[in-house]
Symmetry: C2
């Protein structure tokens, strides 16, 4: 048994002249004359220990043998540091602990990297020794931010009538959507469970049961190719309610988020959050997840250029497209023609055929297309609210290409020009989404949200005539340009649900096979319902100020979906596969 | 949007003469003269609606079309019921709601079974329509009890410095212990993740990282044959701490449980819980999970019978065994010789060769072995504190057979003789377990707790000489004869860990292959640590007063590990298997 009276990082001047018992890890040891100083670390921070001949010669001798990351416990007295030794940057910087007793609880080999925030080890080394990486203060802070979010969510929802209910992890494979992780059944060889991509259908059924308000901190799984902000398993704050409108669900969600921001950041966020329609978000910011921390909105110049001598603009408008611009403030001298051409190349990936630009100098426009606007330049500058030194960027194309291109450039210049204030958290709702979107890769219409999303009341009739033009009772919550969550009112009648599945090219048989239990449930008193899910990993990443969700996951996978520490996934014994009735294909046969 | 001012089940006389908006399910409709009465149900209970010609003829007409399980919303006025119509057993029994407006939100076909507590549908029918089954009040109560436990645990541990951290679900297969559920990797065909049987090693590594106090409501998975209280996936309240003794961890756990019992049951449990050593539990109750709600302890009569003329007793003692008895109070006249012989047959499964018995009548013993004890009968009855009408049951055999047999009979008679008080919750710790136990099936020594359990300090040396006689720093928490959780102090040095694995017949190579990351971590400043896990499903079952954990799981599997509603597990597309590099064995080939 180890005695401990407080954490190292909490020993401050209120403990002066008191005896304390501490335990922790040796961060650093140094000798100074006859003294040995040890920085002792625990989860709350670091405290300085001092050993001397006068206090305890035996303890001093032992202290001299300490190496980094040894685990020790000590007993000692808190004393004031010498004036010269005071460290104002440390919470414990005004005191030190004169150690009278020390016990070495465990030793340590030299770690493969230093336990400090500015560490240069490779990502895979850090993952292999994740237990050491997590000792670093910034990693510990990331996980504690995540825990604080979950804590606030629990407390808020528990207090607002939500019932936490667990849904199964071993469930049915639904080939729609992302790729499932499968789990072979031993009882029925050749059959498989699937790990859930979300608890969507189960939470709807819980509403059918009458639980009224459900939530869960739900683990979800998708076997997709990995990117920086994707992991094979991820966690969502998942909730569902009955009888509420989209606006009421948004209000509830704002309450949750306000609680989190208060508890974790000490910030009182302004409620309600702005509610942008999807159309407005695309028109003004060129994005369905706009970063509202800065302006530089897209401005429509289609009217302005509809009779322009500049053919590119004129014909884009004539063909049903548009001309829009953004104003990059005070960027004119910072960007060369070559750099701007580089951006032009970049936005080709969005389908843009070109990027027109102008610089404003002494009240005059200058640049390749200046001759087309010279005559109306005062009007143009007034309309755009542009000033000397600004760079004007124009894209003329279809609505989608314009939005994607200028939306990208807006974010690019926002960062480049340092227009984004630190420590600001700009939440917004994006509402009234299209019900469907066209998947260019698969060449087919898919559900923009998911197939259980209710169309807008006035669009329900479109399911029979022109389903793909319908908009939905769905909403995303956006923070600083990241989608952190989304939800919708769900379909609660079999009739609309069947039409929706038909619009997604489900045959009646396939609909029943895949979603029969949902359709059946809708026959037995299914209530109006809606809900939302917030991606915990990304939300925690943003609040912790990190730029990779791996930093807020205790034991993440790397970009190959493997875990270098345990070496999962791995080969298994043939006997295990035999029980499951499975053979691994011989790779040489391929 | 549906307007609602409160829940149906909460409308009581404090609402008298107020207008309310309610929504819910039609439990029952009946007509009485010109009136229609509807029982409207939501998660909080049932309220009576009344429709009449005078209030609203249109609403009355609609009410006449309502059928069970229709979802409706209503607006109306709360009025007092007629004296004669008051129902004291209902929370809302003194009032009814005169409905002025009604909207039918959804219809319902006739459900396959009634939504009431005394339902006779088959288990599989209830699972297929689980969303209907969960509407039944007793099922809803079970899940709400579970949610309340989790809520109390969150609040208590959050307030006591515990940090909630998620550990991975896609992890490494460890063939030791129970059978793993495997998850094929697509990136590395032929390799597999395993779903965790517990977060044991991850939580130890979090202690190595310095988090100091961890907890998680952790989903775990075991592919074992199912029994009444087993499910393929289950949930544990999982916690781990650094630098604490077994007693300190037990104290913390008692705090958690006291909080739960207070919040869910309104009961102030007496702390600390009794702490029985494993030896004492086996000696006194013949069980490592004793039910302390009643007495009837096992009493050792080896000394009494060591010179007995009854050969069976005498030789059992001479061979190193023992003779023990239990006293079944006032059971003498209730059990015939034949019934007792039936019990004798039953305990043969524990290896017992016989069951001796005596009845006490008028201060005299009677029965088959009475002639051997007649002379000392007064002494015997005094020692056993037995009285007229009692039934005395004796087993003479090895310590284990005696414990198993009389432990079983104690529980049997406890229930049969109605000695167990209702609504009592008797918690106890069972501590100081053997480190190993012999698995008769596999014919080998296995870890009694798990291979990471620390031996008692004074038994560490036995790892080199006689490991299987060592006892461990482990502890189980027992409630009413059920093990609801267990934990231990863990091994924190590579040296002891390697000896432990060696005693379990791991080669050095196999130890490194399976547990190398743990052994490596123990080289880098691994702190002393310990923790515990409580089985949430079983704990919730006991507090909800149910006798099957399925009743406190929203969507459980049946006894074949299938889910009749979604029909998981199921066949999957060949393309899915191809991506994973797997073939399903042709069953005809077998």
């Amino acid at each position: 048994m180890v005695k401990r009276t407080t954490y190292c990082g909490l020993v401050n001047e209120t403990y002066l002249n008191q005896e304390v018992d501490l335990a922790g890890w040796v961060q650093k040891r140094r000798s100074l004359g006859n003294l040995v100083f040890v920085d002792l670390r625990d989860r709350e921070g670091i405290v300085q220990l001092v050993f001397s001949q006068e206090i305890n010669a035996e303890a001093l001798a032992l202290a001299e043998t300490l190496r980094n990351e040894y685990v020790i416990s000590v007993h000692g007295k808190v004393v004031a540091r010498d004036e010269r030794a005071i460290n104002e940057r440390m919470k414990t910087g005004k005191i030190e602990v004169e150690v009278t007793d020390i016990t070495v609880l465990n030793e340590s080999k030299t770690p493969p990297f230093d336990i400090t925030d500015n560490v240069t080890a490779s990502e895979d080394t850090k993952l292999k020794y994740r237990y050491l990486d997590l000792r670093r203060p910034e990693m510990m802070t990331g996980l504690r931010t995540r825990a604080q979010i979950v804590k606030s969510v629990h407390h808020y929802l528990d207090d607002h009538g939500f019932i936490e209910i667990e849904t199964p992890d071993l469930t049915k494979s639904t080939p729609e959507g992302a790729r499932d992780y499968l789990v072979p059944s031993r009882v029925y060889p050749g059959s498989f469970y699937a790990l859930p991509q979300s608890p969507q259908l189960f939470k709807e059924l819980l509403m059918a049961s009458g639980f009224d308000r459900y939530y869960q901190i739900a683990r979800c799984f998708r076997d997709e190719d990995l990117r920086g902000d994707r992991q094979p398993e991820f966690t969502q704050i998942d909730l569902e309610t009955s009888f509420l409108s989209a606006e009421e669900i948004q209000d509830l969600t704002e309450g949750v988020i306000a609680q989190v921001m208060h508890d974790e950041k000490g910030i009182g966020v302004q409620l309600p959050f702005p509610r942008l329609t999807w159309n407005d978000a695309m028109a003004r910011f060129g994005s369905d997840k706009p970063d509202l921390r800065f302006g530089m909105e897209l401005q429509d110049l289609s009217e302005f250029f509809k009779d322009s001598a500049f053919k590119v603009f004129k014909s884009a408008i004539e063909n049903g497209g548009q001309v829009k611009a953004i104003v990059a403030p005070q960027a004119a001298t910072k960007y060369s023609r070559k750099q701007i051409e580089g951006l032009q190349d970049y936005i080709k990936r969005f389908g843009a055929k070109g990027l027109a630009w102008l610089k404003v100098e002494n009240g005059e426009v200058a640049g390749p297309i200046s001759k087309f606007v010279k005559e109306q330049q005062a009007e143009l500058l007034a309309q755009l609210d542009a000033h000397d030194g600004d760079l004007l960027l124009f894209v003329a194309d279809t609505q989608k290409v314009v939005a994607d291109s200028l939306g990208y450039l807006r974010n690019y210049f926002g960062k480049e020009l340092d227009l984004i204030p630190d420590n600001q958290f700009a939440f917004t709702w994006v509402v009234d989404w299209p019900l469907f979107e066209y998947d260019e890769g698969d060449q087919r219409w898919v559900a923009a949200h998911h197939p259980f999303t209710m169309p807008n009341e006035e669009d329900i009739h479109l399911l029979d005539t022109d389903p793909h033009s319908a908009h939905a009772q769905s909403y995303d919550i956006v923070l600083n340009g990241y989608e952190i969550g989304g939800g919708s009112i769900r379909i609660h009648t079999r009739e609309i649900q069947e039409k929706m599945l038909k619009a997604l090219d489900f045959s009646k048989e396939k609909a029943q096979e895949q979603f029969g239990f949902l359709l059946d449930a809708q026959d037995y008193g299914f209530p109006p319902l809606g809900g939302l899910a917030i991606g915990l990993d990304r939300f925690a990443m943003l609040l912790a100020g990190r730029d990779n969700i791996r930093d807020v996951i205790a034991f993440p996978k790397n970009s190959k979906a493997t875990e270098p520490m345990t070496e999962a996934p791995s080969r298994v014994a043939t006997a295990q596969l035999d029980e499951l009735g499975l053979n691994v294909e011989d790779e040489s046969e391929k």
